[in-house]
Point group: C2
DNA sequence: GCCTTATACCTAGTATAGCTAGGTATGGAA
DNA sequence: TTCCATACCTAGCTATACTAGGTATAAGGC
């Protein structure tokens, strides 16, 4: 389980530039050194959801001698959402770090 | 949403010693400086689930002139599970940090 | 004495996120 | 020509956390 931070990860994957679904999955896998090997059934619906929400836009492209791809890009709202998600992640992870702490909490 | 890390947090809250549900909620709230103000409907079922799973054990106590409380303690399996969860969290948060990175990824 | 607040527990039902497991189809390699 | 990698899709399941309700006692204000 990606625990609610999937959207942030997908949005971040598109920050460097437009990409299609399959490539996004590969990138996330590579960049996380296999920690996030996301099934397609996780990512594709997420992309649809994010597009529905206006955070992404997509266009079908067919590279010469290749299969058709749906290429997604961040919208303005998407960039803003990403910035927000980053803040949320920061606060969240900081809090969990504190709670899990290195050792037992002082009384 | 606590996104799947609730168990780790609750287990960690009991690492310093036994406590009852209400106190656990307060402790988590305080230690996270209000980031995690967990509703009872989240924590109590989690405690039951963890006890069911053998990670916690509980006993009813009635302090003199007080309400009855159900006090939970970590079992051995619970300590082991906590250690495991910490590792999972470490890998998870590290990967998300990398993916969200400070700036756009290099090509 | 009465009311509110804090303490302390509980659970039925709901929302939804992410995954499983299936399907379709093409291009290139063996 | 068979298989794998690429590339997309979705129906349905499950588990998680939350909402929203309920019960009950102790302490403090008025």
């Amino acid at each position: 389980m990606l625990k609610g931070h999937l959207d942030a990860i997908v949005l971040a994957a598109l920050e460097a530039g437009p990409a299609h679904g399959y490539a996004i999955i590969e990138t996330i896998k590579k960049r996380s050194t296999n920690t996030f090997d996301l099934p397609e059934g996780t990512v594709y619906p997420a992309l649809h959801r994010l597009e529905q929400a206006g955070l992404l836009s997509s266009t079908w492209t067919t590279p010469p001698g290749g299969r058709r791809r749906r290429v997604y890009s961040l919208t303005k709202a998407g960039s803003a959402a990403l910035a927000d998600r980053r803040k949320v992640w920061g606060r969240f992870s900081q809090a969990v770090d504190t709670l899990l702490g290195g050792r037992a909490w002082p009384a």
